[in-house]
């Protein structure tokens, strides 16, 4: 429909349909008991929410771009990242293929745009 924005996936109806189970699992991580249950048995926890293989593989890989590709929504995925104490610069670096230092430098440089 819309012209795409480079490097950007809008979380629209198509993504929402694709990612429902994945996002529902991530939403559950608002509760500590659920985070612990996930850490105790990741595979069982994913099965409970009915993740498909693409989603399960992206979770296992802790790969944000793959998670987005599998329908993940940034707001819910942040709760998954939080389990591993990843900060937003870790996540930015992973997605852009930069080192964390290079990503931080890019952010700093934006002040001089």
């Amino acid at each position: 429909m819309d012209a795409t924005i480079p490097g950007t996936t809008l979380f629209d109806g198509d993504q929402a349909k694709k990612g429902y189970a994945l996002n529902k699992m991530c939403f559950s991580f608002n509760e500590e008991a659920n985070r612990q249950a996930f850490l105790a048995d990741e595979e069982a926890y994913m099965r409970r929410f009915g993740l498909n293989e693409q989603q399960a593989a992206a979770i296992r890989a802790r790969n944000v771009l793959q998670l987005i590709e599998a329908g993940g929504n940034a707001y819910y995925l942040a709760k998954f990242a939080g389990i591993f104490k990843l900060d937003m610069q870790d996540i930015g670096a992973q997605q852009t293929g930069m080192t964390k230092e290079a990503f931080q430098a890019m952010l700093n440089a934006a002040a001089h745009q």
Binding site: I5, Y76, G82, K85, Q95
Partner: protein, 282 residues
């Protein structure tokens, strides 16, 4: 009738919560951000708001995709700050103002805004951090009560910028018509430009942000010329949180044709975000 004293827009990056908790406000990384607030604290000490209407976006705490509202209005007696899963500290509960909530709900439905009313609502950092930034000395007793107005930024389609501005106007008119002697502050929590997801993560657009902030003084409807798609392109997938600022600015039109800038500050970056704070007096 109630009195609208003005509005504040502010960023709400989760890491701010940690910095406050650890007392890092004067560290080199944080000072350029926290330094924007003292002149606003002085203004608030004089303006003495009783109630805050908080335009904010939920970050996957209170709303899930099973029931995703476009616009939601809180109508609770108390709002609980809950665990969001990332380890940022929760805040004391915030008292609501059900009388003003229902004044908003009744007015908005009459004006054909199809809102969701929420008699119970968990609030996240986007709702609590502005309070902590504006009233840093508050302990367990916040000095204001709140009415949260939540605007969808999670799932597309998002409401159009013009619709959000119109919502703000209607909220302002509802507050102005509220039969009460309370003093009301409009707060926008969000932005400015940032993008957390995708290979464009780290996108920041200083030029647009500064033009947007200026437009709130000189031409408040300026940003409504853009589609949501254009705004995301310019400001990032989370930069679209500037919708909150538009709603806040729209709400101030009920108090008069123009606003005076009390103070503003803009700093890049905190976390992945271009941060801003701006206080407007009516």
């Amino acid at each position: 009738m109630a009195k609208i004293i003005g509005g504040v827009g502010t960023s709400h990056i989760p890491a701010i919560g940690g910095a406050i908790h650890k007392g890092l406000q004067n560290e080199p990384y944080w000072k350029p951000f926290f330094g924007g607030f003292p002149p606003i604290h002085d203004w608030l000490a004089t303006a003495r708001p009783d109630v805050v209407v908080m335009f904010y976006n939920d970050h996957g705490l209170n709303f899930f995709l099973d029931k995703m509202p476009t616009f939601a209005v809180g109508a609770a007696a108390q709002y609980v700050s809950a665990d969001e899963g990332w380890g940022i500290p929760t805040q004391p509960p915030v008292q609501g103002c059900p009388d003003l909530s229902w004044q908003l709900i009744n007015t908005l439905v009459e004006r054909e805004f199809d809102i969701v009313s929420c008699q119970e609502m968990l609030i996240d950092h986007a709702c609590t951090l502005p309070l902590k930034l504006l009233w840093p000395q508050s302990g367990d007793d916040w000095p204001v009560r709140i009415v949260p107005v939540c605007i969808n930024t999670v799932q597309f389609p998002l409401p159009k910028a013009s619709r959000v501005y119109a919502l703000g106007k209607a909220v302002g008119e509802a507050v102005a018509a509220w039969g009460s002697d309370q003093r009301v502050l409009m707060v926008a929590s969000g932005g400015l430009s940032h993008q957390l997801d995708g290979t464009r993560a780290g996108h920041i657009n200083k030029g647009f942000d500064l033009q947007f902030m200026d437009s709130l003084l000189t031409n408040p409807e300026w940003a409504t010329q853009f589609s949501i798609h254009e705004l995301v392109e310019k400001t990032g997938t989370q930069g679209i949180e500037l919708l909150m600022w538009l709603a806040m600015r729209g709400s101030l039109t009920a108090a008069g044709p123009s606003v005076r800038k009390v103070h503003s500050n803009y700093h890049i970056p905190i976390s992945n975000t271009a941060t801003a704070v701006m206080a407007l007096e009516v």
